[in-house]
Structure formats: C-alpha cells, structure tokens
Amino acid sequence: MKNPAETTSNHHALARLCSSLPGDFTHLSALSPDQGTDADRVARQWRPGSAGALHSEIFACGNEAAGAGMALSLALDAMRAAARDRSGPAAAAPSDDQRAILWVQERAAAKRGGYPYRPGMPPDLQRRVIHVLAEKPKDALFALEEGVRCRDLAFVVGEIVGNPQVLDFTASRRLSLAAEHHGVPLWLVRIDASRDLSSARMRWDARSVPSPRPRWNRDAPGTPGWHANLFRARTHPPAEWIMRDDGYRLDVEPPERQHTGAGAGQVSGPGCGPADPVDLVRAAGD
C-alpha cells in the first residue's frame, strides 16, 4: 500500500504537469484514479485559455443566439490562447491568423435561429466566415467532416437541430477523430436537442443571462453573457460559469456571485471595472 499523502502529492505533480503541457498530454489527467481533493479539482478545472478539446458540443435553445454566440466566444478564446502560446504573452491578438472559418447550418437550424449576420459578428471573424447551408443533417455532417479535415480553416462551427438519427455516437466519434487528427477545432451547436450519446470531448449547456448594465445607458442591454454549464468533459471536472466576451477576452465567474450582481444592478458603479465591461473607445466613436 502506498502512503496516501504521497499519492496526493504525486497527483498534484501530475495535475501541474498536465496543466503546463499543451495538447495531447492533457488527457493524462483524465486517467488519474480518483477525483482527488478540492484543490486538485480546482487545478483541473477549465478556465479560459485552457482550451484543449477539439470537438465540443454546446446545447442551446433555438429561440436565442446563445449557442452560436458562446461557440464563437469559446473559439475566439482558444485562438487567442493559441496565439499567446505561439508568440508569447505580449502578442495575444489573433489578428495574424487570417484563416477562414466554416459555419455549417442545417436548413432547419437556419429557419429556427436565423443565418449568420456579418455586421453582428465579432470583428475578427467578419471577413473570414464561409457559410454552408445543408438541406439535411446528413449533409451537414458531411460538411462538418470536410471542414475539420481542411488545414486552412481556423475552426468549424456547426448548428444542428434536435437529435437526428444520423448524428449517432459513431458519427460524433468520426467527427472527434477527424478533428483531433487534423487539429481543427469543431464547435457543434445542438439546438433544442437532448443530451444523447456523443463522443464530444467537452459538452456545454448554454443559455443567456441578464447582462450587466452599461455605463452610459443603464437601460440598454450590455455585454452579452451566458450561463455555461460544462456537464461533461474528458479532462475537466463539470462546473458552471457565467461567461462574458467583451471582444478582447473571455471573462468567467461563478454563477452565484453573478446572480446578486446582475439582478440588483446597483453594485456596478463608475468605479467597478469588471462589472462595466463596455469598451469606451468602441462605444464612443466609429
């Protein structure tokens, strides 16, 4: 028998190792025998910039754009993290990466949630979107697989409604393997779908949350935020966050703190930085 203290310290070392290593080594932590202590759990928790999964699913409602919005934010966050890894922490802007992105929509998804509108997209992505409208889920899956096989794409976003029969575990496994083989991230938004069997490495649940009040017009909608529930992940323990993307970085905070802050609104004053994330320069001029 091993000394329990020694096991724990080894486990800590492993967690540190895994968090410091990029890519494929991160799944080592998933092989760890037990869930470990709270500190260990915290160490393994997902945080912005630690994007390792190349195939993620986001379950969202079709009556809001939370799924697509969160998918784009997570993808942008992963790209920023990759750019930071590539060129050091100083140059965090992903502007040097001008590869196209592929946005695949099933016809039903476009009917229910609308098609991408270029002026409303994040500025980094506006010129890069290639939209694919597939008539059937089968065609959408084909387009997704072709997309993740293309080395010239930054990432692939898919929107599929419901639980079509063709999107079974085998199909999702196929997508996972293709994405991991070619290194192209896939963000699959599942609209009005139940959580069926899937091989996606990270599975999220997304819904909108009330936004913080902007500084200049306190009655206007503010920076979009989502309640993100990571309910299944291979390398991270499940957790919930409130995510906000202000265009520069992805902020996350635990959900309970958010409820008090956003519900009351009076907490955010002129002095409160994080609660007032609207970019003044962008809001003020053209």
Binding site: A66, G114, Y115, P116, P119, G120, D152, D219
Partner: protein, 457 residues
Amino acid sequence: MLADARTLCPHLKVAISDPAGDLDFLERLAIWAQRWGPWSALDPPDGLLVDISAASHLFGGERALLTDLQQRFKARGLAVRTAIAPTAGAAWGLAHYGPCDGRGGAILAAQDDARAMLADLPMAALRLDDDVLTVLRRLGLKRLGDMDGIGRDAIMRRFRNRRSPAANPLIRMDQLLGGVPEPLLPVVPTHMPMVQRRLVEPIRHRDLLDQVLRDLSQDMARTLEGRGEGARRLELGLWRVDGEVVVRRLEMAAATREADHICRLFAARLDDVDAGFGIETVRLRVSWAEGLSLEQGDLDKAAEEHGTSLAACIDRLTVRLGTDAVRRPVPHASHIPERAQRWQPPLAPESPSQGQLAFHARPLKMLERAEAIAVLYATPDGFPRQFRWRGQVHEVCRVEGPERIAPEWWREKSTVRLRDYYRIEDQEGRRYWIYRHGIIGDGRGGVPDWYLQGLCA
C-alpha cells in the same frame, strides 16, 4: 531429306537455319551502320538501307565512304555489295544487280539521268514479287529499259488491280526514279533498363541476397520511372564466384515498377538458388518493358494525412451540396439590415465597401424573414414592454432604441413604412432585435406591426 542429301554427298556441311537470329543480327548491324548516317532501315532478309544525305563529306566523299564501309565489313568477316543512289529503290537495285567493279560499289549521283543509267538492270531490281516477275518475263520485259518501249498506260492497265508496291512495277519504277515517296522505317536502338550490384564480398546467405535484391528493385523502379515505363519481364542474373550464372526470369501480367511487388515475386524464385562459393554480381534487367505513365499519387491519402486545402474543401462541399449552399457573406451598400448583407462564392475576392459604423449594434443572427410579434407598448412610439413570439411571452427588461431606418425611397414605393429598431433583453437575458414597422399617423397604413428580426448573441 538431309539423310538423302548426305547419302549422295557425304562431306556435306550442314548449318541450321536461324531466321530469328539472322534478323536479330541484322538489327544490330543496322544500328552499327548508323555510323555512316543518322538513319538506317532494315531490308530483310539481308539488306540494310542507310540514309547518308549530307553525311558523306564526313568520310571524304561518297567513294571514300564506300571504301571505308567495305573495309569495316571486311574486318568483321562480312561480304557486302554496296551502292549509293538518290533513292532507296535505286540503291537497292544497284547493290543487288548493279555492276560489280572492283572499287566497292556503284554510285549514282543526284544529277545523273537515273532512267538511262539504270536501264540495263534486270526487272528483279525493282524489288517485285516473284509472280509479278514471272508475268513481266512472259510479257517480254526483261530490263528496266524495256518499260520505256511500251506506253505507261498499257502497263497501268495490266497491273490496275495491284495496289501493293511490290506487285506493281509502275509504282516501283516511280519509287526508283524518285517520282513517289518511299518512307523507310528507321531502326531506333532502345536500351533495356538494367541495374547491377558488384559485391565486394561474395554472398552466400539468403537474407543478404534479399537485401541486394531490394536495393536492385528500388534502383530499377527509379530507372523505370524515369523512362515512364513498367516492366513486363524481368531477368535476375546471379554470377557466382566459380563463373556459373544463375538466371531467374519473371513475367508480370501487367507492367509494373513497384519495388515491393518485384521483391515479393522474386522471393519465391530464389529458394532453390545454389550459391556455391558465393555470388559476386547480381544483375536485374528488364527484357520487356511497356509504357506506364506516371500516376497521380493518392489524393485522398495525402488529404488524409495533411488535410485538404481550402480550395479542395470548397470543391468537395460544392460538388455535394451545390454551389448555392457554400457562400460567404459580404457587405452591401444599403441601410436596410437584410439588404446590407449579400452572399457570394466563398473564394471570390471581396469588393471594397464602406466600413461599418461602430455605434450600430447589430445582431449575430438574422431570421430569414422577420417574424411578426405581438407587442405591448405605449402608443404611439413608446418602448416595448412585453411581446409574444413563437407562443412564448417575453418581458422586456432592457431596451435601447429606437434606431430609425427609413425605407430606401429611391428604389421602393412611397407607401413603404419606416422601421424603428429596438435592441431588447428579456427577463432571462435573451437579446433580440425587433422593430416597429411604421408609426401611427404616418399615412401609410393603420396600427403599426412589430417584427422580430435578429437574435443577438
């Protein structure tokens, strides 16, 4: 037959006829004879035609060329009759039936009157078939000059059914005099690909031989690829130290140049090779090669390993989904939100456009058609308080607006109403972009309708 002949003449010498060997020898002789001219052609069974146009001066003139030729053939132990003439037919006739002086052969210069000079040659100098010669002899035509005596029409009538040159003396006569062209089929030497390894240390073990064979196969594959050919028949020669040669032949069903395939096939043939004191040279030779064009590598395999390019990806998508399914959104100069975005092919260059105004907050997604919603609001132009969309009631908690977007009067009718856009957020934080179509009292309709057009992130 041979026994009868030997009975009659006991000291008869017998040599076995070898037509194929003779032809082979003639082919090699034809290639050797290209030393006197760039082209040579076979004239089976025992003749050669060499085109020495503009080449005789290299040997000091035609007479010197013939002397050189006679000497070289004599040195090889061959007796030749030679002639030079402006046409192949004349040269053939002169060589076979021409005067045999001691100077090496007849020369018919280009400015000579060929008809007069060749008039004494027998009809056989025309390279005619035997039955035609018989007919001509019966007609009383024995020399070429005799054909001048009777009219051309008469001969043409007599041989009107004969199309082949060898059966029609008129065609042969024209060829001899240069009246009609006579193409020759030149002999072109081809070198069969061959690779070999001389081994410093004679090998006696099978695995070493396999290694040598692998190297040879790869060399051969490279050689064949450079020539654009594939092997149909392969010969592997193994030279032993004691001088014995072991040859293994392999014939393939289709031309190939795969080294692994060749190795695998030979492996079964090498089991019974007796290495003796060792093998010191291994030679692989292709004795029959066929054209095998270079092939495109497996596109799918390359794509499997390195990923496809964007163009290839777009191609695959458009082939299956149609060109209208794969598009790129581009801005268009219009105030109307649904007109401000157009679609174009994904790789087409984007035309320059005016930058977007930063204070225009636009939704991430637009519905294909704005959907009508029932809205509670303070008339005539108050903020929306509550609305019902897709059977669900949304309380409006935050609102920003209106952003008034007027119709484009230059392209729409005057009755089109303006739009007042509101960016709203409901009690659950869902953000939408809705508009009121018109205002009360604008004279373009009754109570204005509300529509939901966009979904914000």
